[in-house]
């Protein structure tokens, strides 16, 4: 489940500000923000206007009213990864949970259903959230910086993180949230019409709408639009290997570096996520990692160090790692926001272990939002919040010392 918040309030696409308006916000912060400034910057995602009105059928995402009964056959496609078992049971092979599901029952994700011994996704083309976001909000810092992504989600998730920001959609079944029918070609066209160079599959957990994501990525590529996946990485190897060639970047939320945390806080497992990261790297898909730092749960020096060492050994020093600030949400409202010093401690440990691109997230205005050349140490991409102020790259190289900065820039 990605840590990226989707706005619950529908807005018109006309609310998307011109670039100049986004840029003007950068003047708000010169140093670490005060409370008022922080709140202003926190509202920045609102400028990532919701695409509800573009979709026509999305009157809003409020859960107040029960969705009207829907004919759901448009959204139902047979799942690509499952085994048929005796007595009309099925075993899902999409995520490592491998739910064994009786007839008329659903898997843990709530969006895949056994119907008479065959297994179906109920969320193909069933979009329940759509926004136009800066790519930095994903966050992807080394992938077309300063552009926007047409960002969508369906209901459902294959884990249940206690800190989930988007639990209203991720922990719901598709019929419990308002959705629009957006087939892959329409999605690609919407992205193109709104001048989005990429589509982001995000907010809930794109693994659970795998079939739709693959079809949409193909349709998007046909129009020259990239696809980025914002995921918890809790996926089996086979579907991941088939997904990778069709997408352009994958951001993985590495929730912690302990199985205990994954079991108690995430309701998942760490090992398959690490395996997924290695596979993504091997297959050459651009990858960044986010680590949401939660006070007392995953914020020890030992864990930060083990994480950094693992990344360096298994993925290399050039994989960007974002340490993000936690805010109390969902079932973890009893913990405070992450102190800044904790995040800075995490960064200093990761830096010391030799990672080249370590960022701090949800701290608008912090210098660690910007990209620094690992050789000459100068700022090559300056950011404040989700806004890119300056880029000093030429063909993927630092314009000062010609050091190659890894990423997808053109």
């Amino acid at each position: 489940m990605p840590s990226e918040l989707h706005s619950p309030e529908p807005q018109t696409i006309d609310a998307l500000p011109p670039d100049s308006a986004l840029s003007s916000l950068t003047s708000l912060v010169e140093v670490l923000p005060d409370r008022r400034t922080f709140l202003k910057l926190a509202a920045l995602p609102c400028f990532s206007a919701c695409a509800a009105s573009c979709l026509g059928e999305l009157p809003g995402f409020s859960l107040n009213a029960a969705p009207p009964p829907e004919e759901d056959s448009r959204f139902v496609v047979e799942a690509q990864f499952y085994d048929k078992l005796q007595y009309k049971k099925t075993r899902c092979k999409l995520c490592p949970r491998e739910c064994v599901i009786d007839d008329r029952e659903r898997g843990y994700c709530g969006v895949r259903e056994n119907r008479g011994g065959s297994y179906y996704s109920l969320v193909h083309s069933r979009v329940c959230a759509a926004h136009i976001d800066p790519i930095e909000k994903k966050p992807l810092f080394h992938f077309f910086p300063g552009t926007v992504a047409f960002s969508i989600a369906t209901a459902g998730c294959n884990v249940n993180c206690k800190m989930c920001q988007n639990w209203d959609i991720s922990q719901s079944r598709p019929e419990q949230v308002r959705s629009a029918y957006v087939p892959p070609k329409d999605l690609a066209t919407l992205a193109q019409q709104n001048r989005c160079p990429s589509i982001a599959y995000t907010y809930s957990e794109p693994v659970v709408f795998y079939e739709y994501m693959r079809d949409a990525a193909d349709a998007a590529h046909a129009l020259g639009i990239k696809s980025v996946v914002i995921s918890g990485g809790f996926i089996q190897q086979d579907p991941l290997k088939k997904l990778c060639p069709g997408v352009d970047a994958i951001k993985i939320d590495l929730k912690a570096f302990s199985e205990k945390y994954y079991k108690e806080i995430v309701n998942g497992e760490l090992k398959p996520v690490l395996d997924a990261l290695v596979t993504i790297r091997k297959l050459g898909v651009w990858n960044e990692i986010v680590y949401l730092v939660i006070p007392t749960l995953n914020d020890s020096d030992t864990e930060f160090r083990a994480l950094a060492q693992w990344v360096k050994t298994n993925l290399g020093s050039d994989v960007p790692v974002h340490f993000s600030r936690f805010h109390p949400e969902y079932l973890l409202k009893n913990l405070p926001p992450t102190p800044l010093e904790t995040l800075e401690r995490a960064k200093s440990i990761a830096d010391a272990e030799g990672l080249h691109y370590v960022y701090l997230g949800n701290i608008p205005g912090h210098p660690a939002e910007s990209t620094y050349c690992p050789k000459c140490k100068r700022v090559v991409i300056e950011r404040i919040g989700f806004t890119v102020r300056e880029i000093h790259l030429r063909k993927g190289e630092c314009e000062y010392c010609q050091q190659i900065i890894p990423g997808v820039w053109q």
Binding site: P69, Y108, W167, E175, Q176
Partner: protein, 331 residues
């Protein structure tokens, strides 16, 4: 039974608080579990229930229901018993179990019999709501979803939807069905008696998974502690009045789906105020049948329904799973 005979300070305070919540927050007619009294589980059976055919006969079913209610409440007449369950003017929800469709769901005949007794006890038809998760589930079990004014209403949670806010207890954070929270003053739980391939068994406690928006999240660890925690959500705990388990046909393997090869005509009803005791007794019935059929026990298969003992522990106190404190009455 997980009850700690020597609770520490935290457990003791938790226990006191839980008791205070129960005593102060429930309806006068709501069952109050007292560990000092035995929990009664009435099992009514009728071997001639189906006569010469394969379907239960309505009049014999009504008599079985009456016997069980009189035994549970030690009442002179069925009406006396029902008057201790409901009050005129209340809206009564009947939470059926219809996931498996015809064959191993709460039967239409039983619901009709209960509705008749509710009417006699002063509940108007318009104040009876028969509900489950989905309208399609109700239909598949033989009910006809309808919200017609002045008549008994039948509908799934998809009709009214779910509350916006989360209800949280222990491991559970869920949005509750508005049918439960807004449409009903009290709920009579009408589960089936069946095996569950993940949770061990599904009887009284687990039937309330049908009142939350995300039951798919709570089948890990054989449903423990989730099933017990769901029952602790205040609207559920406060509104449940009575549990009547439809055991006309029971299933000892392959549930929750209907697997006719593993069903048997139990020809009975189980009635109790204590869902934990009912689940314990029902579980033993299923285990006994599995033994008769030469099947492995749920323990051997790694799916003991430990949520039953969790529901009885000092934190939950939803009832008792201690056979010494269960009075099993057969009528």
């Amino acid at each position: 039974m997980r009850q700690n005979p020597n609770p520490n300070r935290r457990e003791f305070l938790h226990s006191c608080l839980a008791s205070a919540v129960i005593a102060g927050g429930t309806h006068p007619l709501a069952p109050f579990f007292s560990p000092k009294e035995k929990s009664k589980v009435v099992i009514a059976r009728d071997q001639l229930l189906r006569g010469a055919g394969s379907n239960p006969e309505s009049d014999r079913l009504v008599k079985m229901l009456d016997r069980s209610m009189q035994a549970l409440y030690a009442a002179d007449t069925p009406l006396d018993a029902w008057k201790r369950v409901v009050r005129p003017g209340e809206v009564i929800g009947l939470k059926v179990n219809t996931l498996a469709g015809r064959g191993i769901s709460t039967s239409v005949l039983l619901v009709e019999a209960i509705c008749e007794r509710l009417r006699e006890a002063g509940i108007q038809e318009k104040d009876i709501v028969v509900w489950d998760r989905l309208n399609t589930d109700l239909e598949s079990a033989g009910f006809r979803p309808t919200s017609r004014q002045g008549r008994i209403r039948y509908f799934g949670n998809d009709t009214l939807g779910y509350e916006d806010d989360l209800s949280i207890y222990g491991s559970v954070g869920s949005r509750l069905s508005k049918t439960l929270t807004q449409a009903c003053d009290a709920v009579i739980n009408l589960p089936a008696l069946k095996d569950h391939s993940i949770a061990g068994v599904t009887i009284a406690l687990k039937n309330l998974f049908g009142a939350i928006h995300n039951p798919n999240k709570y089948h890990l660890s054989v449903g423990d502690p989730y099933v017990a925690d769901v029952h602790m959500l205040p609207p559920i705990r406060q509104k449940l009045r009575l549990h009547i388990c439809d055991a006309l046909t029971a299933q000892y393997e392959g549930g929750p789906s209907f697997m006719p090869q593993w069903t048997w005509p139990f020809n009975g009803l189980m009635v109790s105020l204590d869902p934990v005791a009912m689940d314990y007794v029902g579980w033993q019935i299923i285990e006994q049948k599995r033994t008769e059929k030469g099947m492995k026990s749920l323990q051997a298969l790694g799916r003991v329904p430990n949520y039953i003992s969790t529901a009885a522990d000092v934190q939950h106190q939803l009832g008792t799973n201690d056979p010494r404190h269960i009075q099993q009455v057969e009528v």
